[in-house]
């Protein structure tokens, strides 16, 4: 079957690749709703290093997507079943190293075509079914699974004193991590520090929010999550080292294109543990779908979704990427190509 793959060939320029996909041993899924990630936006705008762009483009963007099964020779899914797709593609299993850090794994929409295609063909273990979740919310399951993975890394690394966790950042990632932590560690106080009072006002389910310039001197947290990335990373990490209690664990989640200088003296003095957390694997997806089964959790995730008009042409792809720059949190759209 000839499949249409909508590839970014250079910043803000798309073309179509026609590829032959076989009715072999893979499940064929029709993408339904998609969400834009900052990583997609950086490729779209050409904000990655030119060497990276030259190496990775042309490439189909988008790694947050839900769809419907149209063909399954494995018999795992029924035709029409709603599913979310896992962009991480491991080629081997390791009992110690998570699939999303294994050097042999590859990631769809980073060097390999993402989900902006007419059909996506995947092995059955890269697909997780869902039901009872609204499709536009299911579209951000991958994003939620990244927060789930961070909470798993935290749980394994952090000491058991967990009276208060502080999250730096007031964007989609911070919001989602807060929602996941609140469900996973219900006895722990969750505190969010941000720059934008309007964005912070969305965090109605956490215990405290502070503007970064108004953190009380007496403030402390047992553990911290850094969810800023970009230019905000150095300031957030500096604040975290200042306010965190000794032997706390810091989960770094924000992506920065630049190297960040950090205060190693105080890290050593406090005996801190820094953990990098990125992407996710199948277990995280399954947990994310389970969390979305909780009505409160789903309702909270819906709050940060801006649903754009359906994408029916390449012109519409340009429109949703442009609109995404003006929305405060996540942009989701129906894929009708």
């Amino acid at each position: 079957m000839i499949n249409y793959v909508y590839q970014l060939v250079s910043p803000k320029v798309f073309s179509i690749k026609y590829e032959d996909i076989s009715f072999g041993d893979k499940v064929i899924v029709r993408p339904n709703y998609m969400a834009i990630c900052h990583a997609d936006q950086r490729y779209y705008l050409g904000q990655r290093d030119i060497k990276v762009l030259n190496k990775k483009l042309p490439m189909a963007l988008i790694h947050e997507c839900c769809g419907k099964v149209v063909y399954d020779p494995t018999g795992t899914f029924s035709v029409g079943q709603r599913v979310v797709m896992i962009p991480n593609t491991p080629v081997r299993h390791d009992d110690v190293i998570f699939e999303n850090y294994d050097k042999s794994s590859y990631f769809l929409s980073s060097g390999h075509d993402g989900f902006m295609r007419e059909y996506v063909d995947l092995p059955p273990d890269r697909i997780v079914p869902y039901s009872g979740i609204e499709d536009p919310v299911a579209a951000i399951t991958e994003f939620i699974s990244v927060a789930v993975h961070a909470s798993v890394r935290f749980d394994r690394a952090a000491h058991p004193i967990r009276r208060r966790i502080a999250i730096w950042g007031d964007g989609s990632l911070s919001y989602t991590v807060a929602n996941v932590l609140k469900k996973t560690f219900p006895k722990t106080e969750i505190c969010v520090i941000g720059m934008d009072i309007r964005k912070l006002s969305h965090f109605s389910f956490v215990d405290q929010t502070y503007l970064s310039g108004e953190i009380p001197d007496s403030f402390t947290a047992d553990h911290c999550f850094e969810c800023c990335g970009g230019a905000g990373s150095p300031y957030a990490i500096d604040d975290i080292i200042r306010y965190i209690n000794p032997q706390g664990t810091v989960i770094l989640m924000g992506v920065s294109e630049n190297k960040v200088a950090i205060n190693t003296r105080d890290i050593l003095e406090k005996g801190l543990t820094f953990v990098g957390s990125s992407r996710s694997g199948r277990a995280d997806f399954e947990r994310a779908v389970e969390l979305l089964g909780n009505k409160d959790f789903e309702d909270r995730m819906r709050v940060i979704i801006s649903q754009d008009r359906p994408v029916c042409s390449i012109k519409d792809i340009l429109r949703v990427f442009a609109n995404d720059l003006t929305t405060p949190f996540k942009t989701v759209f129906k894929w009708n190509m």
Binding site: M1, S22, M337
Partner: protein, 237 residues
């Protein structure tokens, strides 16, 4: 019920590069007709997909389906007729024999040699056929169309903005198509170049669905070379 009808009744090839009909030539790693059939199979709204094949090539087609797709009740092969419309009516006869006649039946007809059809075109054909009864897939004309009545001089140049190129799928309410066709005289039937014209000749409105330039009909050697280049297949010089 909703039926697919892939038309592969011909045996001729204007390409002169093979002794088999063009729909059986490989595009990439498999025959053109299989690409088309697989795309139809991914549309869950079809109750059955018919393939109208020239009687001489029925067994070959059956073997291809068995080899590449496997056992399925969803595909039915029927002998093609002497021309495009007779192949369509052979398929309609079989539909009514097997499933019975109904005012609700919709048929989505498609050229076997248009493998770049998209699910979107198929879905929009089904939706429009259910609503309007007759549908054509078209792409806006890119070249200026010129008319000549004597084949030597231009007699007129129509406004390009009103010109479209007819593609497939073409989709119909089966009973509507049958009744319009039955009403045509033999002379009128001789003028038919495609199934939509059955409706146009009798002034029945035909709704248009947007196709695209990639949905090309692989008819000539240059079409074939373009299609092979599009999928990264071996280009024949």
């Amino acid at each position: 019920m909703i039926f697919g009808a892939i038309l592969a009744g011909g045996t001729g090839s204007r390409m002169n590069i093979s002794d088999m009909p063009k729909q059986f030539l490989n595009l990439g790693d498999k025959p053109i007709i299989l690409h088309t059939l697989e795309k139809f199979l991914t549309c869950p709204r079809f109750d059955c997909i018919y393939v109208g094949v020239h009687p001489d090539w029925l067994t070959h087609m059956r073997d291809l389906v068995a080899k590449h797709i496997g056992q399925t009740d969803k595909i039915k092969l029927v002998p093609g007729g002497s021309d495009r419309n007779s192949t369509i009516f052979n398929i309609i006869d079989d539909i009514e024999t097997v499933f019975g006649a109904s005012d609700e039946h919709i048929i989505v007809t498609h050229d076997a040699v248009r493998p770049f059809v998209t699910l979107k075109m198929i879905e929009e054909n089904i939706d429009a056929a259910l609503q309007h009864g007759a549908v054509d897939t078209v792409a806006p004309a890119v070249d200026t169309i010129v008319c000549s009545t004597d084949g030597k001089q231009i007699s007129s140049i129509p406004d390009r903005s009103t010109m479209y190129q007819g593609q497939t799928p073409q989709s119909f309410n089966i009973n509507l198509l049958k009744s319009l066709f039955a009403d045509l005289s033999e002379t009128e039937k001789q003028t038919l170049t495609d199934a939509c014209k059955i409706c146009v000749v009798r002034n029945h409105p035909v709704y248009m669905v947007e196709g695209n330039s990639a949905n090309l009909k692989i008819t000539t050697i240059s079409d074939y070379k373009i299609a092979q280049a599009m999928v990264g297949g071996k280009v024949i010089d």
